[in-house]
């Protein structure tokens, strides 16, 4: 592999992953939560594609495609649940849905 060394890719993906994790831990809006999860999934995708290049196999790239499709499916379900959340609780705030204790 020429050009950019693999460490940079891993650092980038670790950064994106941490931003996503930070978003999940701090944001209360369920939609922001979904976006943060997307960031974390994409961090994994960066890794998969970069490592595929490093190892010279296509496995990682193909898997990254799978992950994208699954992320889309997950968002579809998530939006549906957030929709009924909004109908029942009048907001998309995850902390509002707290009729049961954690």
């Amino acid at each position: 592999m020429t050009g950019i060394p693999i460490e940079y890719y891993v650092l980038l993906s670790a950064g994106v992953f941490c931003i996503g994790l930070f978003g999940i831990l701090t944001r209360e809006n369920a939609l922001m939560f979904l976006m943060s999860v997307e960031l974390m999934l994409n961090a994994a995708n960066i890794n998969l594609v970069a490592f595929a290049l490093l190892h010279g196999t296509l496995t990682g790239q193909v898997f990254a495609l799978f992950v994208m499709a699954l992320a889309a499916a997950e968002v579809a379900i998530g939006i549906g649940i957030i929709l009924v959340l909004n109908r029942n609780f009048g907001s998309v705030n995850v902390t509002d849905a707290a009729t049961m204790r954690w």
Partner: protein, 499 residues
């Protein structure tokens, strides 16, 4: 003389549930007038029953046993049909069938029955695929196929706040843990260069051990979510309480079993203890900590609950802790690995029946609408003696009293841990079992000894729910005299996996 079938038919258990899920979709959407509930439930139950029978049939004729018809490796070894896979496929499809038949009464006149049954079957397809998955790709895809319909099922009662809240929490934690899982997989791929489990094991060269360790930890996080163990357990009580009770039964039994089967396969096949210990990554230690914390937390929290359903939810976390002993008591090339692993599989089988039965009893209580707390069950035995007897048997089995299979599997688990030298794991497990007897007896006491506070009259006795509750109780009891074949299958499945 057995006719030789093409290789892909080895996946029949997964194919049956998958195809019938699609048939249900078609049936429900193509017909203009509403399809009768009986037809929908019947089709769904027929599909999962076929899947169950095919799994049992394969086990009987010796598919997945190298000595008989051989382990099937499909699609470049990304799927493998071995005895462990078939064993868990049988457990999962049996639970699915029971849940579907019980749901017939529970759903009643609900508007979206067709979707309900197909979602259950789709989730079941994902779980059966998890039992066969032999590559991190197929494991992840199957896990998502099991998870996504489950989120929708928990939030199925769209106008019920508890159901929506449970669904939201389940979804949020599920999405987070699957992101962590996939990141872990990407790190493992980076270190080993492959995703197929045996190839991962072959790619462990001893380089980049810190990255690998991080990947393995993240993988354990994803598994902990699916099995509802610490640290990703906190969705479980809310999701089970909020969800319709048959769905709670389905998730706490089948989904947990599916989580454990991927854990067994990943850690035995991809991360052999010998190589990993040489690299300084002691994953057994992680599982030991998780097992102790999970069973203690689950049981202590269960003892303090006032709602029966929530108590059962925490008790199912406790049982995840017991099953984790199967991984926590493994030793490097130890002579007792088979016993420990096999005991874990047996426990998940018997647990599948007793826990499903207990949650179906809750489904019946919800059907009668007599309240959720322990006090609300007061004097129930006078009005519904058969259901109360069945529930009593199931609860005592969950506690591990010697009246059914629950006792033997727990005994094997603890005995395996002691033989392997982890007497303290067994001791903590036994202490927790003693504690669990306390809170299970509270339900029994309420049903049989307490006088009813107000006279609630039970009007109807739902046939499907009753039949499945009794079936669950009978199977758990029969598992005691018929323990031989179960133990034999589980042990040989463990032997094949350990290879």
């Amino acid at each position: 003389m057995v006719v030789d079938l093409p290789e892909w038919t080895a996946l029949a258990p997964a194919l049956f549930v998958g195809i019938f899920a699609l048939i249900l979709f078609a049936l429900d959407s193509i017909r203009r007038e509403p399809v009768s509930h009986r037809l929908l439930a019947g089709t769904a139950a027929f599909g999962s029953l076929l899947a169950f029978l095919s799994a049992v049939w394969y086990l009987v004729v010796g598919v997945g046993d190298p000595g008989e018809r051989g382990v099937m490796h499909l699609f470049q070894d990304t799927l493998v049909v071995d005895q462990m896979g078939l064993f868990f496929a049988a457990v999962i499809t049996a639970v699915t069938t029971m849940v579907i038949i019980a749901s017939y009464d529970y759903l009643g006149e609900h508007a979206h029955r067709g979707e309900f049954y197909s979602l259950v079957l789709l989730a079941s397809t994902g779980m059966v695929m998890m039992a066969f998955a032999n590559s991190l790709v197929t494991i992840f895809v199957a896990l998502e196929l099991a998870s996504l319909p489950s989120y929708a099922l928990v939030a199925f009662l769209k106008t019920n706040r508890g159901s929506v809240e449970g669904g939201l929490k389940y979804f949020l934690i599920g999405a987070l843990s699957s992101a962590i899982l996939i990141y872990g997989i990407s790190l493992i791929y980076g270190v080993t260069g492959s995703l197929q489990l045996e190839a991962v094991a072959a790619g462990l060269t001893g380089e980049h051990t810190s990255l690998l360790a991080l990947g393995v930890l993240m993988l354990i996080g994803g598994i902990a979510f699916k099995t509802a163990s610490v640290p990703f357990h906190f969705w479980a009580p809310d999701a089970y309480v909020g969800a319709p009770a048959p769905v709670a039964a389905f998730l706490s039994s089948a989904s947990k079993a599916a989580g454990f089967v991927i854990a067994f396969r990943i850690f035995i096949e991809a991360f052999p203890l010998e190589t990993m210990l040489a690299m300084g990554i002691d994953w057994v230690l992680v599982f030991q900590v998780l097992a102790v914390v999970t069973m203690t937390l689950g049981n202590v929290a269960a003892a303090t609950q006032s709602e029966v359903k929530r108590m059962l939810a925490y008790s199912s976390i406790g049982h995840a802790g017991y099953a984790l002993i199967a991984l926590a008591a493994l030793t490097n090339a130890g002579p007792y690995n088979e016993l420990v692993l096999g005991a874990g599989m047996m426990h998940l089988l018997v647990y599948g029946f007793m826990n499903t039965g207990a949650f179906l009893f809750i489904a019946m209580v919800e059907y009668w609408d007599i309240g959720r707390c322990f006090d609300d069950l007061n004097g129930l035995a006078k009005q519904a003696p058969i259901a109360s007897i069945a529930m009593t048997i199931l609860l005592f089995n969950l506690a591990g009293l010697p009246i059914g299979g629950g006792f033997l599997t727990k005994y094997f688990l603890f005995a395996g841990a002691v033989s392997a030298g982890f007497w303290w794991l067994a001791a903590i497990g036994a202490l927790n079992s003693a504690l669990s007897l306390y809170y299970y007896s509270r339900v029994v006491k309420a049903m049989w000894i307490e006088e009813p506070t107000e006279s609630t009259q039970i009007e109807s006795y739902p046939l499907g729910l009753y039949a499945m509750l009794i079936l669950a109780a009978v199977v758990t009891v029969v598992a005691l005299p018929a323990f031989g074949p179960i133990a034999e299958t589980a042990m040989s499945a463990a032997e094949i996996l350990l290879g």
